[in-house]
Symmetry: D2
Subunit: 225 residues, 4 copies
């Protein structure tokens, strides 16, 4: 449902990417994706999910899902609601919204049944390996101390990415690895791919940029050949 290399833009809970501006940002990403042919996906805030998914044709992810099925679960986000909203998948276990391994196991299996993709975040090579053992479509290694810093993990801690890729290869080679934390430029994307990952997960590098279009264009530039 998505092609690789993949650039996944997480809108987080930033006000710059909330409500109407969520739709605007998603449309900018869609434009760049159409113009360049590079796969770009967006993960808007939960409250904007159906609205954004209705407004664009690029892949839309939820930022989170709860490990419950449909029913009496006020305030929870089910995979079924994510699907009904029109999204193609969900991020899980972001360092700002961690869940437990048994919940991820439940969600990965259920998502597969529903035809939804899962991208599970992790913080260390060992946790990346553990998440890969659960069989999601993607794992995204993001050392939390680098998130939002603008210092790319590929530069500050390439060994964390390399070790993650190596362990995933051993534990479950079908799982794709994304690289997150501190990604802001096309150079970072290039470094991430060189380290063996199939793309990047980023947030502030785009959302907080003065010029969304220019920021995304820069990210995709190394993939344009």
């Amino acid at each position: 449902m998505v092609r690789y290399p993949l650039i996944l833009i997480n809108f987080k809970a930033y006000r710059e990417s909330s409500g109407k501006r969520a739709v605007e940002l998603a449309k900018v990403a869609e434009e760049v994706s159409k113009e360049t042919g590079v796969e770009i996906a967006v993960a808007p805030q939960l409250t904007d999910l159906a609205l954004v998914a209705q407004s664009v044709e690029i892949p839309v992810f939820s930022q989170h899902a709860d490990a419950v099925g449909p029913g009496s679960h006020t305030g929870h986000v089910t995979l079924e609601a994510i699907k009904d909203a029109g999204a193609v998948g969900t991020m899980l276990n972001h360092s700002e919204k961690r869940i437990r391994a048994d919940q991820i196991d439940f969600l990965v299996k259920k998502a597969r049944e529903l035809g939804l993709l899962t991208a599970v975040c992790s913080n260390t090579p060992e946790v990346t390996a553990a998440m890969a053992a659960l069989g999601p479509d993607m794992v995204a290694i993001e050392p939390p101390e680098l998130i939002g810093t603008g210092i790319p993990v590929s530069r500050a801690k390439p060994e964390v990415v390399l070790n993650s890729v190596r362990l995933v290869e051993r534990v479950n080679p079908e799982v794709k690895v994304l690289c997150g934390a501190g990604i802001t430029t096309g150079e970072d994307v290039e470094a991430a791919i060189r380290l063996g990952t199939v793309g990047v997960l980023l947030a502030s590098g785009v959302v907080k940029a003065k010029d969304w279009r220019a920021a995304i264009m820069d990210l995709v530039s190394p993939l344009l050949k």
Copy 2:
């Protein structure tokens, strides 16, 4: 921002009220509200919030909010996002999504600044009094053992409602009391009002009904004079 008496319909995480069907159900509620003049509000699933709020003119509530401001909070629901989505307020502390008193204190104060309404759920008269002490716009007393049973609290445990109303009167008389749990009919609404509350909070009684319009019409019927 809302008028009383109020009928607040919680869509929970039911699949019957998810995605496109969330918009349909909200429109049925809107029609009945316009025809009868009775105030009806809806609380769709988080993922549908902006979409529903854009589609109807009746008051829309979030089912939940997290006690964080905008920022690096992937997967969280901020009051700001709720406002940007077009909702008028939020439910808090539903028995299926309880949060802590200090979080409710934070959210009630922040919602007031943002011009959003808060409806805080509680399970016992003592907890109702505690929630009233935090100064939300509404408290909704819902003994969890009756939720989803079709046995209205107003019939099964009228003393729980009466004690709640009495304690709120003493602790913070400006707080409105809603009556929840087991509400399905106009008769239940009438009983709730007779016990001193200003309306009802309900879910399956409408969402699971074969005929949404008929179910809502029945609820508002005792208020039509």
Copy 3:
């Protein structure tokens, strides 16, 4: 089961007050209490509770309790286990271990049945009032931003304490108010009492002191007349 004024020493998870040293510190507190006649209670780490309660005769509190009864609850702390360990009561809802209002409601009612005391922490006057509405034996107002600073709330924010006392008086006058956060000296204890509280809750002021006996002696000094 305790007399007022009360000095309650929280051992937190400090290593200085863990294992054998927990027993030593409790014995120092016991000695000072016996010598001066001032009521001093201790709240050791969970793992040390039974050992400390067996070693001293002064009141021992748990730092926390979980809202479950005895049974299949691995890793949980029940009120029954607290009682069987020999403690006289428990702290609840410390800012470092907050729980929900419905859980505090459950625990306060159950503790009363079991003959255990409850001291519920709070962070603002509104939350103090909410906690008082649940009817515990004590509430302890502790603005989290002052905890561990050595700047006593009684000096930095006397209005927080005064408002808390005033609101508790209105909501539930039988509840005693303790004053916490930044307490380290006898002067702080005196100020706390002057503001209408019946004692103090403190931690690092004693645990991290070079000389435990001297630190506790200083605390009780204003109460020695």
Copy 4:
């Protein structure tokens, strides 16, 4: 610090194994261990940990640990406190007290530094593999639906145990596998060992037994040759 095969008795939050009775049960386990030479360890309630660890010479485990170091963490259980209490290790992630993978990663690494053992529970073969990827000393596979039933996993779902053993072998062959859920007799222990595990984790089968000594004797009987 422990020998295999290992029988690990979890006292859960049962009142039958709380306070003084925790010490009594631990002493019965110690007696049987000394008489038969079979390794038996106990995991008392958190509140009894130091008291039990002081009273017996067999290995004592905590039922849980929190992913924080010593410090301002009221109501938390640190690995340091577990060590200071005299325990040799800790269970983690029991189905009744699950924690997140990043927390387990933190705790496993820290426990190794402190010289403490870790036994991480899991519910499915995939989660067992994930936990093994984190490198604890042991994983304990326990399908939650069988816990407390008296129906041993080795009989009801031998494939869950076999798959777990096989996956651990692939992911991290140094990790030992224990078998839990529904274990009550020596026959169950024998079956568990036959399936490739190095011992059992059980609770009610011993704690709720009329005769603790007879129950433990029965468990160790197949290991007496």
